[in-house]
Amino acid sequence: MTQTRRDVMAATLGLTAATGLTVRIGQAQAPAEVKVGLLVPLSGPWARFGEIMRRGAELAVRHINERGGVAALNGARMRLVVLDAGDSTEKAKNAAQRMVAQEPDMVAATGAYLSSFTLAATEVTERAELLMLTLSYSDLITGRGFRYVFQTSSRAGDQAREAIPTLMQLAQSASGRRPETVGILTDNTAASISFVEPIRQEAQARFGVRVVVDETFTPPLSDATQLVQRIRSRRPDMLIFPVTVISDAKLVIEKMNEFGLGRGRLPTIANGIAVAQTDMLQNVGAEQLEGLMTVVANWDAKGQEQIIEEWRRETNEPWMTQNAISTYGDMWIVKYALEAARRADRNAVAQAIRTMDVTDGPAAYFPGRRIKFDANGLRENAGLMVVQWQGGRPVTVYPSQSAVAEAVWPRRT
């Protein structure tokens, strides 16, 4: 009896050892897991955005693993390695250095939210030949001749240049006529100024749109009455309103509502995700936000309903925003590249991304619905999205393949 039990135990042990051995041999050929880095600010003033990106990445990794992991690597699971980029360029760079030093088998990474963080972090990843996907806007990111950085968003300069033709097209299809005049109301922060500059210079010459009112203010505003009065007296067909400070947005939007320009009566277009945050709902209210549009590089879009629904259930965040959806998509890009490379090797993965040209799979999570990077790593025809507040939600209204609703643009009689 005792003898038998001992035999059984020995056999079990032997079997376990043998199994362990097989697994280890298997790992040598195709690893059981593939590491992907996420380098985003998780502390400091940008922590909330980084947190949203992390949850987007986690959701994608879970989806990928639930659906069988990386098939080409015998179903290897993806594992997310999260690093905090902190609140300064230096910390972001240090974190990138830590990432490449301590995770030599990482195949790809995404980050680092702020352009300046991304610029610093990619100086490290470039030298380590680790590919880095980013949603940052800066023109510099893919302007340095780097070979391992891939920018999925439209660059700031391109966004600015494309904004007017995009809006003209949108107005045409929504209202049946092209706007002839435009007003500009901008704060004097760098991002806003660089957005309005091409409009000031090119709107008239290239698109025949006259700038009839052009006001610049320094945040924070204490009162928006005079600014809004001047706009009302000039009555432009649309208003370009890049704003970075929530309190300024609130003052202007409330005043426009008071003056009868709100709720889309004067089509008003902001830039960036600031005015489409959930904070705006609490600060300004759905009523007054109705009709406000903003130009962004990516947003929750058609075809992503299931993901968004799951996101909402899990995070209690009402929508994903550019940060979550782009990071979600980045994970699928890496997965796609791993399938193509058939190796968990960072250079092979980078090469696969360089030659990638897809209109399905990961392309579903980006405007333009195509993923092809140019020689500099910039996604070709990255394009824009226009989001409009409708019924208390910012919904994508452009481009049509991503739009979940029609743009509301007043028809002038």
């Binding site: 998780l42 905090d84 902190g86 610029l119 610093a120 100086e123 800066s138 001749g145």
Partner: protein, 589 residues
């Protein structure tokens, strides 16, 4: 300073530390740890730059990011726009920092204390917005794939580390050189008491300006190197509040006014912050900042002057038992040498004509005229508020008279700054004593010796002589912070003496002393007079004064009331009335 520390004993630990740090790059292979090892000396140098101005002179700057950021942008823009290598860019950035030091220092030194600190805060904030407005949100240092080393770009990351260590060596050497020069002692004197330093003959304005120029140059140069390491320069990263704060944090943590302070601060805090960021950043985001802050608060509570001083004080206490109480000054054994009163026709050394000064309506001194003869001991007496100290402040240049003339040996000194008056031969002491508490007795006195000496050795000789003259030559190494009232008075006199004055203004030197101590001082003052130094003394203690002075002048309500030999003045009814009131005068009459 007075007792010079052997250079080797100062330099050897520094050299050993730098060698060890450089060696660490050979042992560490992890690229992340190498980066941290490179960043530590960078912040240490920035801390040393801040220390050169704020640590030694006490002018707290909350805005050293101005220099740091200008240096970083100079290097980055020169590289990105004009392809200038950082090998040239960094020295140029240093010069630019020196220039910025002048531009910032000249207007800002008009402010003192908290106002100076706050004004300094404004510069980086303004510069941050200027660079945003210029469109330099992000400046990236281009990657040179072929000729990297010519542009300070190395495949081997250890070289960055070694450059950082070399820069740290340079910054520590500069700090040590400053500490060992009279310039350094002048800065410390300014920190401990700017008015006393000025009165002791130090051109405080120029000294401060040189300090900010050196500090700015160093901060800019290291800012330039920081750009080379970070490769991306943004206004927030180099002009931000956190940058200025970093200099203060590492220095205050490690120890102010020592070359080791910023180094200790960086060596502890930078890796600590990185470890916390790495270990906690992704799991409990934000907690690392809290832990870091708590660690700093804890250390500041335990070691308010920084780790270095805490350790140094503890070692000093263990090494040397407390100085014996017997070091209190005993009465000089030798009586004062005999002296004869100056003749009535002795030359006039100091002459005051029609001197007036008002403080918004209050006429503190009105139409005062008197003369002091060479070799005389003149007593100035008068009730509280009579204007005695105001007269001294007018004489040595702290105040500028509204009208009237002051002639020192025939030359008008109206409008001269105090250090110039001092150098011209008029020394003074203060009613409220103004010692430099963190300096030894000898160094306190030596500050005064810089007024009229050129070399350190000369200054040491003059200091030793002054100490001997007042009888403090036995406890030269004692810190001024722990002295008795009498010792402080004597030390102040010695400091004034070290300036080799021809005339000495003593402001209530006997105040607060007991009778035996007064006797000690009287002997010392007579001894000075016997040396031919003219003495003008303000005093309340009449019985002592009567025995000391050759002549009195009596002030009341800012005007000259009476003048004459002690016996005559004491009998003057007007004087008695001014001091004691009308009733006493009548009773006496």
């Amino acid at each position: 300073m007075f007792v010079p520390r052997p250079l080797l004993r100062t330099v050897l630990p520094v050299a050993a530390f730098l060698a060890l740090w450089a060696l660490a790059f050979l042992l560490v292979t992890n690229s992340y740890y190498r980066l941290v090892l490179t960043i530590v000396p960078i912040w240490a140098v920035f801390g040393l730059a801040w220390n050169l101005l704020s640590g030694y002179s006490g002018l707290i700057s909350f805005g050293h990011a101005s220099f740091f950021g200008l240096g970083a942008y100079a290097v980055a823009l020169a590289f990105a726009e004009w392809h200038v290598s950082p090998w040239i860019g960094i020295p140029v950035a240093g010069l630019l920092g020196c220039l910025a030091g002048v531009v910032i220092g000249v207007p800002t030194f008009r402010l003192r204390g908290h106002y100076f600190a706050l004004a300094m805060l404004a510069y980086p904030l303004a510069l941050l917005h200027v660079f945003l407005w210029l469109g330099y949100q992000e400046v990236s240092l281009p990657m040179r794939r072929e000729d990297g080393p010519a542009f300070m770009q190395f495949a081997d990351a250890r070289i960055y580390g070694w450059i950082a260590v070399a820069l740290l060596g340079g910054a520590m050497a500069l700090t040590i050189a400053v500490e060992r020069a009279r310039f350094g002692l002048s800065l410390i004197a300014i920190k401990q008491n700017e008015a006393a330093a000025e009165a002791a003959g130090i051109d405080t304005w120029r000294t401060k300006l040189v300090a900010i120029v050196m500090s700015g140059g160093l901060a800019s140069a290291i800012g330039g190197f920081y750009a080379v390491i970070l490769l991306v320069v943004t206004p927030e990263a180099v002009f931000g509040m956190l940058v200025s704060a970093q200099a203060l944090t590492v220095t205050m943590f490690g120890g102010i006014a020592t070359p080791w302070g910023p180094v200790i601060g960086s060596v502890v805090l930078i890796p600590l912050s990185e470890v916390l960021q790495a270990e906690l950043g992704a799991t409990i985001p934000g907690i690392q900042g809290f832990v870091f802050g708590a660690a700093i608060i804890a250390v500041v509570l335990v070691a308010p002057e920084g780790v270095f001083w805490r350790v140094a004080d503890a070692l000093a206490r263990r090494r040397a038992p407390p100085a014996p109480e017997a070091s209190a000054v005993e009465a000089p054994t030798d009586a004062a040498p005999p002296r004869t009163q100056p003749a009535a026709d002795a030359p006039v050394i100091l002459e005051v004509r029609n001197l007036s000064k008002s403080f918004s309506g209050l006429r503190a001194v009105q139409q005062m005229s008197f003369a002091v003869r060479q070799g005389e001991i003149l007593g100035i007496i008068g009730p509280n508020g009579a204007g005695k100290t105001t007269v001294f402040n007018l004489l040595n240049g702290f105040l500028r008279p509204d009208e009237g003339e002051i002639l020192l040996e025939g030359r008008s000194i109206v409008g001269w700054r105090p250090h110039k008056v001092c150098r011209a031969g008029a020394g003074r002491t203060f009613q409220i004593m103004r010692p430099f508490p963190r300096l030894t007795i000898a160094d306190n006195v030596m500050v005064g010796a810089f007024a009229r000496t050129r070399t350190l050795d000369e200054a040491r000789a003059v200091t030793a002589d002054a100490l001997r003259l007042v009888g403090l030559d036995r406890d030269v190494r004692q810190l001024a912070g722990g002295l008795t009232n009498l010792q402080l008075r004597l030390m102040e006199i010695a400091r004034a003496l070290a300036g080799q004055p021809r005339i000495l203004l003593l402001d209530e030197t006997l105040a607060g002393l007991g009778a035996p101590e007064v006797e000690v001082l009287l002997v010392v003052i007579r001894r000075l007079a016997a040396r031919g130094i003219t003495i003008v003394i303000i005093e309340h203690t009449m019985h002592a004064m009567v025995r000391l002075v050759d002549r009195f002048i009596v002030l009341d309500h800012g005007a000259l009331l009476s003048e004459g030999a002690p016996a005559d003045v004491m009998r003057n009814p007007a004087v008695i009335e001014a001091y004691l009131g009308k009733k006493w005068q009548r009773a006496d009459a």
